[in-house]
């Protein structure tokens, strides 16, 4: 059975062109970029070419890009790096309650290190109110971290408005753009951010490489101490094949961004309306319009998410859920609960994330399969009364 993969927000397959671009750097051009002989310089040039490509995608300068080992590392770097470098100025950080764990757990960590963290609420669509950000700023605030778009419900935040607030107050602004860069316009100047985190494997690049954009002049502590790689900000021998793959992925994403976003948005909306038409008691989670082109998040009332995912998998469809049952804790997704969903609806959530290889036929197959599975599980549910 051919699998239908609809979990592109979790990870994407590397584009074959990306894989091709990476291959020479495992064996033939294997050199350490820090070495002065030609093997080293060849690798060094490849890293710098990749840097130019990713910088171009987000409208940054080459020297504002620091390659990291992942998006999570980039978020950790931004939060901890800015916090520790600006401690003399203040100890207050503002973030939202629906951030990725990479940001939330970094904040929690900083909270134990004498930093004060404000977790802003969101409305029922998952939107942060820029006025709430403004009101939360004190003379001790050193950093605001609000994600560009949410990984679970796909809501796109008013980053430009928030960056204006941050700028007026003279506070650094970081955004986690792991779900957006390469998928929707994410130009750092237009967004007005000082820091931005990205991950390669969310845009058809390899796993194990991410980056942090750091606007020139931003005060930040080095993240890893050691050699002088990445201008002394992140020591480690460069992941040359990974970085080259990231560069290629960024180049392809930049080239295809408009056409892909339009194509995927149409499929997304077909999936949303189709589900709402074919199944009763469905709730769309997240914002109907301020939404990632590839994200569909719904709550199917009276049934639990994991049991739907397992059944969908049996039919060859890979999707995810915000139900507790898919995690080690027994609580449903912090994002869905922050949007104000009751626990049953949060446990009954499904996330479909579309991508480059998603076809109309696949969406049709989902629309045909899901109602059957929901009916089977609802017949089993003590909460469902016809």
């Amino acid at each position: 059975m051919k699998q239908i993969y609809l979990d592109y927000a979790a990870t994407t397959p590397a584009d074959p062109e990306v894989v091709q671009a990476m291959l020479p750097y495992f064996h033939d051009a294997f050199g350490n970029p820090s070495a002065i002989y030609s093997y080293g310089q060849e690798a060094k040039n490849a890293v710098e070419e990749a840097r130019t490509k990713v910088a171009r995608l987000i409208g940054a300068r080459d020297d504002e890009i620091v390659f990291t080992g992942s998006g999570t590392e980039a978020d950790n770097f931004a939060l901890k790096g800015v916090a520790f470098a600006n401690k003399s100025k203040g100890n207050h950080i503002i973030t939202s309650s629906i951030e990725h764990h990479a940001v939330l757990e970094s904040c929690k960590f900083l909270g134990k290190m004498d930093f004060k963290i404000t977790y802003l609420p969101v409305d029922s669509y998952g939107l942060v109110d820029p006025q709430d950000v403004k009101k939360a700023i004190t003379d001790k605030t050193i950093l605001i971290s609000i994600m560009h778009a949410n990984n679970e419900v796909g809501t796109i935040q008013p980053i430009c408005e928030i960056s204006k607030v941050a700028k007026e107050a003279g506070v650094y602004f970081h955004t986690d753009a792991v779900q957006t860069a390469g998928h929707i316009p994410s130009n750092v100047k237009e967004l007005g951010v000082d820091l931005l985190a990205m991950s390669a494997h969310k845009l058809y690049g390899p796993k194990g490489v991410g980056l942090l954009y750091i606007k020139k002049g931003t005060k930040i502590m080095p993240f890893l101490n050691g050699g002088a790689q990445e201008r002394g900000r992140r020591a480690s021998t460069e992941n040359v094949p990974g970085i080259v793959g990231f560069g290629k992925a960024a180049e392809l994403a930049g080239r295809d961004i408009d056409s892909e976003a339009a194509r995927i948005t149409r499929l997304r909306d077909k999936l949303i309306t189709g589900i709402q038409k074919n199944i009763e008691h469905i709730k769309l989670n997240g914002h109907p319009v301020k939404r990632l082109p590839n994200n569909v998040n719904i709550s199917v009332e009276f049934v639990e998410g994991e049991s739907m995912c397992l059944n969908m998998d049996m039919s060859g469809i890979c999707i995810s859920t915000g139900s507790a049952c898919s995690s080690t804790s027994l609580e449903a997704s912090h994002v869905l609960l922050a949007l104000g969903l009751d626990p049953v609806k949060a446990h009954g959530s499904l996330r479909f994330t579309l991508g480059k290889w998603t076809t109309e036929e696949e969406i049709d197959k989902v629309l045909e399969t899901l109602p059957r599975i929901v009916a089977k599980l609802r017949a089993m549910s003590p909460l469902y009364k016809k």
Binding site: F302, V303, E304, E306, S307, L310, N311, M314, S323, A324, C325, S326, T328, L330, E331, A332, D342, P343, V344, H347, A379, M380, S381, P382, L383
Partner: protein
């Protein structure tokens, strides 16, 4: 992550559905944790002659519900009360550690259905059963701690 037996019961659950005029009903779990189980039993001459369940929950919750109903059908109430969550999990070829609470829930649902039956039938000579039931509950409280 699930054994073949769990997946088999999950896809073809036994004894699903409601029961008209059950002799005992057990309702356990809560929506916050994402699992709700209901078990209905028919009892004749101290024997569970029929059993049905309805479950809102994950794969493990559905599989443990199905398995416990299969294990208990045709058993005396004494035998039924001795079925532990571990026995349910073992019969399913094991459960992932994070899903063991589902087997506890299945045992609780059954126990609560028997409890309901005993409460509705105070005239029956059920003293020993009541005692047995109490011990069972003590063990469940330990599990949940």
């Amino acid at each position: 992550m699930y054994s073949e037996k769990v997946m088999e019961h999950f896809h073809n659950p036994r004894n699903v559905g409601e029961m008209e005029n059950p002799d005992g009903t057990g309702h356990v779990g809560n929506p916050v944790c994402g699992d709700i189980m209901e078990i209905y039993i028919k009892v004749k001459d101290n024997i569970i002659t029929d059993v049905k369940f309805k479950t809102f929950g994950c794969g493990a919750a559905i599989a443990t519900s199905s398995m416990v109903t299969e294990m208990v059908k045709g058993k005396t109430l004494e035998e039924a009360l001795k079925i532990s969550n571990k026995a349910v999990a073992e019969a399913l070829g094991g459960l992932p550690a994070v899903k063991m609470h589902c087997s506890v829930l299945a045992e609780e649902a059954l126990s609560s259905a028997i409890d309901d039956y005993l409460a509705k039938n105070p005239d029956k000579n059920t003293d020993t059963l009541r005692k047995l039931h109490k011990t069972q509950h003590a063990h469940l409280e330990e599990e949940s701690e």
